[in-house]
């Protein structure tokens, strides 16, 4: 019985051990570090995005904003792209 209990407590600890917090925090902080260390990555991504979207939609290229945001426990790539005109749909 005692053995069972300690195993239960042990397993619980495994999940809540502070290393998981450490790993999560590291993952988030490194996304931001790596992006700010290589701003050219975002610039290149932006240019490629514009190139693809232009095929379908007319957008305000100067107002386009792409960045990384931390939302709860995930990192999101957030793109704010003002639309000027949707191109005529070719059926």
């Amino acid at each position: 019985m005692l053995d069972f209990l300690t195993r239960l407590i042990w397993r619980d600890k495994e999940k809540t051990g502070s290393k998981h917090v450490a790993k999560e925090r590291l993952r988030l902080v490194l996304v931001h570090d790596r992006v700010s260390a290589a701003p050219q990555l975002l610039e290149a991504l932006k240019e490629d995005l514009i190139r693809v979207i232009r095929e379908y939609i007319e957008i305000d290229e100067d107002a386009l904003d792409v960045s990384f945001n931390s939302i709860e426990n995930t990192v999101a790539l957030v793109a704010n792209i003002p639309v000027l005109k949707i191109k005529k749909v070719i059926a």
Binding site: K13, K19, A22, K23, R27, L30, D33, R34, A38
Partner: protein, 267 residues
Amino acid sequence: MKGKVIVITSGKGGVGKTTTTANLGTALTMLGRRVVMVDTDIGLRNLDVVMGLENRIVFDIVDVVTGGIKLKQALIKDKRFEGLYLLPAAQTKEKTAVSPHQMKNLCQELKKEFDFVLVDCPAGIEQGFKNAISGADEAIVVAVPEVSSVRDADRIVGLLEAAGLRKNQLIINRIRPRMVKRGDMMDIEDMIDILSVDLLGVVPEDESVIVSTNRGEPAVMDASSRAGDAYRRIARRLNGEEVTMLPLDYSEGLVNKFKRMLKLASR
């Protein structure tokens, strides 16, 4: 003879760069290689005290690079080991006293004489870091299993790659198997996964390192030191041997444990 220049770096201070340099340098000479350890932490030199050679310094790295002192005059020969030398840092000069170009030339010069040139890098990513890596062929990044250290190590790996260094290997220092086991310390896999670099070795937290530093005798000289054993294994890897990674929960044999107890008791 054409040696290899390896810079030992970490970004964050206090994670064991100097201890690692001293132990690997000593262990490599124990394997019969010729080694020079270069302390590039100008203004805050420490490799000399960790090696117990602080009383033998006459000239330093700045004297060699700018003062017209010959390398042979400045190199301190460690009398305990055949083929082990130290080039100490200057204690009273600025980090800018040496330029990356001068450092590169110095490393080229040392490479002709030694199998291994181990460059102990200062903490930080400024001039001192740039100097230290400028002559390096490869790098060893030292990190402890803490968020701040791994974060800095990640930045350092990025900077090393940007500087054209392709072979960057990780030493995880001061790991505590018991804390890892109970989920309160990042594991080896966790750190490798995050940093995406090759693992060179793992050194357990070990009080004997403090004892050996107190005495100015690297832990590798102590046959019963666990950290010393880890460093000896890493040195063999650097020397081109295939040495298996010990599992974290590796327990030393009863005989060794007993020996260690006896040794501690006799102190």
